[in-house]
């Protein structure tokens, strides 16, 4: 069966909460039923049919033809199937995602993969600040799954991350992996200042170095670790070039000693 496609009629005039349009929630619904579903907005009431032309198909394979930076919460809470967006998305794409695959062929706003628990999220363009991070008041960020950002990522990527893997193939902003509890953050491009700020445990690769390292990280020498080759095998299907770079000796910095100091940054 072909994909269930939503073609954007025109650039939306308000922010849209697209969390209801996931395989979990659309499976078994008819085209007419989907068209009458209400979308939460900031101003006028809208139904799915007002916003998109719908081409019926298998709800396990959803495709948005056309995106917008006003598309918020795309794929939020999804646990299965695949969503592909041909365009940009707004805030919180894949928030609380539990499984399945979310592909954004464009740029993503802040809090992409916020508190994600499982599945695969791929952003082909840039991702804004706090990839995987918690919203205000939440104590834990990303808890599982894998995020791949092909372009650059904003500040505080992987904030308060607990588990899972984030790969950024481009540059990353300041304080990447801030307050990390555990998990793995692989940053291929240059990283802004203070990566791993107040990190407790976890692993950060700053493959092309950072603007400034906190003095609360201590140098533990160069090591070629088995754990890094296991990580390389794990990410090879998602990002083979980055994976290949992991299989060599890396300088290992332990920290952040301002807290419990059980994290590590691999740095040139």
């Amino acid at each position: 069966m072909s994909t269930l496609a939503f073609t954007l009629r025109e650039e939306p005039s308000q922010r849209l909460d697209l969390a209801p349009l996931t395989p979990d929630q659309l499976l078994g619904l008819s085209e007419s039923k989907i068209a009458t579903l209400e979308i939460q907005t900031t101003r006028e009431r809208l139904r799915v049919g007002d916003l998109f032309k719908i081409r019926t198909g298998d709800a396990m394979q959803i495709r948005f033809e056309g995106g917008s930076e006003r598309f918020d919460r795309v794929g939020a809470g999804m646990s299965k199937g695949q969503i592909t967006v041909e365009g940009d998305v707004g805030i919180q794409a894949g928030r609380l995602m539990q499984g399945g695959t979310l592909k954004i062929n464009g740029n993503a706003g802040p809090w992409t993969a916020s508190r994600m628990r499982g599945g695969t999220l791929i952003v082909s363009g840039q991702a804004d600040e706090r990839v995987g991070g918690p919203l205000a008041g939440e104590t834990v960020g990303m808890r599982g799954g894998i995020v791949i950002v092909r372009g650059d990522a904003g500040d505080r990527t992987g904030d308060r991350m607990r588990r899972g893997t984030i790969i950024v193939e481009g540059k990353a902003g300041i304080c990447a992996g801030s307050r990390m509890i555990a998990g793995t953050l692989v940053l291929r491009g240059r990283v802004g200042s203070l990566p791993g700020y107040l990190m407790r445990r976890g692993t950060i690769f700053a493959m092309n170095g950072s603007d400034a390292l906190s003095p609360t990280f201590v140098d533990s020498g160069e090591h070629e670790l088995i754990a890094n080759s296991l990580l390389a095998s794990y990410i090879t299907p998602h990002s083979p070039d980055v994976a290949a770079m992991l299989r060599r000796p890396w300088r290992r910095l332990l920290g952040d000693m301002a807290v419990i100091g059980k994290g590590e940054i691999f740095h040139p």
Partner: protein, 302 residues
């Protein structure tokens, strides 16, 4: 005992009797094949029989770098015990004392089943707080700092509750040399069968046992019916032509694997022929009432 004759070798019309066991498997890797092998040999040492060793263990096969999780040379070992708790205890002690200690080693689950045994989850405390857990997809690893770097270990490994222990072949020949030659051929042939191990030295046991003893409290004693020096005492199962007897004991993850191994062994002995090898092949059983798996020799012939 009634016999068939195949290629000039007598095959007893009998069966091997084997028992249900608990088993697990590990993949051991190191910087070189030599050191992976060393860790595996040490870990499976003193593991010939559950009677005195707590478990039976051995090398299943050598793994190429492409077959191991970390891309280094490896060895797959199997471990068998009579209960899950004993298997867990043996696994923990042996990995902790023999693999953790071996230079450059790492240790991974060698079996994927829903029921799990603790691996790194039991050893991590050696890290004294410096141990690090790393979860990649479905797998969780423990990284324990050691003096040559880090010991990496899967958190758990699979438990197989339907394993089989005690498949066997009794090899009888005219001289010690010829009997050993035939038995060695069988061991070589069985080495190519996956999911089985031969726990005894070099895969061969020369002191086969029977259940019980004339002495109180001794649970197993020499298999006097098959001792050539006791021919003529009335209980001997050996004819005048037999001067040496050796046994191969086989443990496997499945009954089919044990049958396949016995088949490979029997056929290798038959192929060697009576001039250079054995004169007779038998199998050990306890009348069929103790073990739940019976392997008839006549079903294994070419």
């Amino acid at each position: 005992m009634s016999q068939l004759t195949v290629n000039g070798i007598g095959v007893d019309d009998t069966f091997a009797e084997a028992f249900g066991m608990r088993a697990t498997a590990l993949t051991i890797t190191a910087h070189s094949a030599l050191w992976a092998h060393q860790a595996a040999v040490t870990m499976t040492g003193f593991a010939t029989s559950v009677i005195g060793c707590g478990c039976e263990a051995g090398i299943d096969r050598v793994l190429s770098p492409a077959e191991t999780p970390d891309g280094r040379p490896g060895v797959r070992v199997l471990l068998f015990a009579v209960s899950t708790s004993e298997l867990q205890k043996q696994l923990q002690n042996r990995v902790g004392q023999c693999i953790l200690t071996s230079p450059g080693s790492a240790c991974y689950a060698g079996l994927e089943t829903d029921e799990r045994l603790k691996l790194g989850n039991a050893l991590r405390f050696f890290g004294d707080g410096w141990q690090v857990s790393k979860r990649l997809g479905d797998r969780r690893y423990w990284r324990i700092p050691v003096m040559d770097g880090e010991f990496v270990c899967d958190a758990t490994t699979g438990l197989c509750k339907t394993a089989v222990g005690g498949g066997n072949i009794i090899v009888m020949g005219a001289t010690a040399e010829k009997t050993l030659a035939a038995t060695e051929r069988a061991v070589e042939a069985i080495a190519t069968v996956p999911d089985v191990i031969l726990p005894f030295p070099g895969g061969i046991v020369r002191s086969g046992s029977k259940v019980g003893s004339k002495y109180e409290g001794v649970i197993a004693s020499t298999n006097d019916a098959y001792c050539p020096t006791l021919k003529g005492t009335g209980r001997s199962a050996l004819g005048d032509d037999i001067e040496s007897v050796l046994e191969i004991v086989i443990d496997g993850l499945t009954s089919a694997a044990v049958a396949e191994a016995m088949k490979a062994g029997v056929r290798a002995i038959l192929a060697l022929g009576p001039e250079r090898g054995a004169l007779r092949i038998g199998a050990g059983n306890y009348g069929g009432k103790l073990g739940s798996h019976h392997y008839y020799l006549k079903d294994l012939l070419p």
